[in-house]
Symmetry: C2
Subunit: 308 residues, 2 copies
């Protein structure tokens, strides 16, 4: 079997740290080109823009779009119109409506569109989903608290309209929540804290309602300077499930679970290859929809200005 040639568009931190190593470790994929204005990586052809890539490289079947959400839609349209299988970093768009348009376009062009949620491929997520599937959940607490200065240095786009602010990491928690809960939930209350000099929130408190009085509380905060926390705790009538380290570790009733060795981005590229092989798309808007709902329903508080 010949490896699928793939190009990465947007060679920033996430591409270098995660996408490029994941492709290198996947024998069904070959990184054949990059698109970047600030330069690519050694030994791989780099193009100035997607138009040059599409014009010059009909051998490349798949494109992985790693740029921020605000400029991504127009590039995704070009990718799909050129008949390329297309993978989107999270969040899949700056609006929900544009993602639904891309899904329609992919169907019309008969190519694969994969709107990725990397946190769903954390080592403990599948086991958490399995354990919760048949149990009665009474409440869920999500704590996603990190220091924005440490994890997002120089990323201006997260503070601009469409950049989602604290929901940029928080949507990872929501992508796990929507993956592991057996029934859908909907937002009932939302408080968003906007620094007075920024267009996106630095913190968010959310409440969701599920079946039979079940509630989910989520506390997202970018001002956490001590220990960093990415935890989801679910209380059930048969005990407590605790997913920690952003989904990498899992304990049930205090007992650490043995988990498969699994990397998030290797999992994404394995799934992308499967989808291409099967001629399918995978576009789940539910995490982004909860974020849009949180903005629409949100009470806004103005908090101290943020300076990096």
């Amino acid at each position: 079997m010949t490896a699928t040639k793939i190009a990465i568009l947007g060679v920033g931190k996430i591409a270098r740290d995660q996408h490029i190593p994941a492709i290198a470790g996947n024998e069904t994929m070959e990184l054949a080109a990059t698109v970047s204005r600030s330069g690519g990586i050694d030994g791989v052809d780099n193009y100035a823009d997607i138009d040059a890539l599409i014009a010059g490289r009909s051998d490349i079947a798949a494109l992985s779009l790693c740029m921020p959400p605000q400029p991504r839609y127009d590039i995704a349209v070009k990718s799909l119109m050129a008949g390329k299988h297309t993978m989107l970093e999270k969040p899949p768009g700056a609006t929900v409506s544009e993602v639904l348009k891309l899904e329609k376009l992919a169907k019309a062009k008969d190519v694969t569109l994969f709107a990725t949620w990397h946190s769903r491929y954390g080592a403990g997520v599948a086991a958490a989903r399995g354990w919760l599937f048949d149990r009665q959940i009474t409440s869920v607490q999500i704590d996603w608290k990190e220091d924005v200065r440490r994890w997002h240095p120089g990323q201006d786009w997260i503070w601009q309209a469409g950049g989602l602010g604290v929901f940029d990491p928080g949507i990872n928690a929501l992508s796990i929540m929507t993956e592991i809960l057996p029934n859908p939930v909907h937002l009932t209350a939302s408080t968003l804290s906007f620094p007075e000099n920024r267009a996106t929130p630095i913190a968010a408190d959310l409440t969701f309602a599920g079946p039979a009085g079940m509630t989910v509380k989520a506390d997202f905060d970018w001002r956490q300077e001590g220990p960093q926390t990415w935890n989801i705790t679910a209380e059930t009538t048969e005990g407590t499930l605790k997913l920690t380290d952003g989904g990498a570790t899992l304990a049930i009733n205090g007992v650490a679970q043995t988990l498969p060795e699994a990397g998030e981005y290797p999992g994404l590229y394995h799934r992308f290859a499967e989808l291409i092989e099967a001629g399918l798309s995978d576009v789940d808007i539910s995490p982004l929809l909860h974020v849009a709902d949180a903005f629409m329903l949100g009470d806004r508080k103005t908090v101290a200005p943020f300076h990096e």
Copy 2:
């Protein structure tokens, strides 16, 4: 044929002005009860809450929910769980996710759910849709400017989180936009003006992108004291379509069109009866999704406080 017995829940201004006369004028429907804490209408049984209605009136097959969106979800769940065909005033929910949950529940219970958009039944809307269907649209301008003091006196819920502010009328324009445009659009820019003492915006400027460079600009403003404006103008390569008076009148290239005599709410109840008869639901989330997108992508401006 026996008329379908229907109850109205939430006997406020919209129920008295529109729903009750529309049901009275529909020979396939009979208003059999109301639910209201502040009293019903002469000659019709009134119940204190939906539980009492459901317990006492198995003869009533359909419920029309006219209360504001924030409390509506829990009542809609009770209605659907009791096997009642259910009609929702606009907007169909305080979040998009809850509407999707109601849609699933209606399917599971095999009853009709109708998420209504009354402005789509304006006299000029169907003709506008027909004329635009096969034409190349280059731009659309939406002006929805009204005096909130005149049209929404005492409606505190519109200023509370989930009440949508100026999007409460603006979503009527978006429901027409999504009905008459032959292709979907997505939001690319949004500026929301929040009075410093209110949780929802008093004005919004929106830009949407459609196919082939087509753009839609929407200007929603609740501070309009002079002439009131609810207009949609579409420029095409074959001239200009102008829908005015909220969809009631239509001109094409300056020529007023002869339109059928049609009332919005009579149209809604006619459609509800059709859906029940056919065993179908009609739930289009696209107008509410554009509003959620506008909040998520929006740049927020603080403007002068609003006092009624």
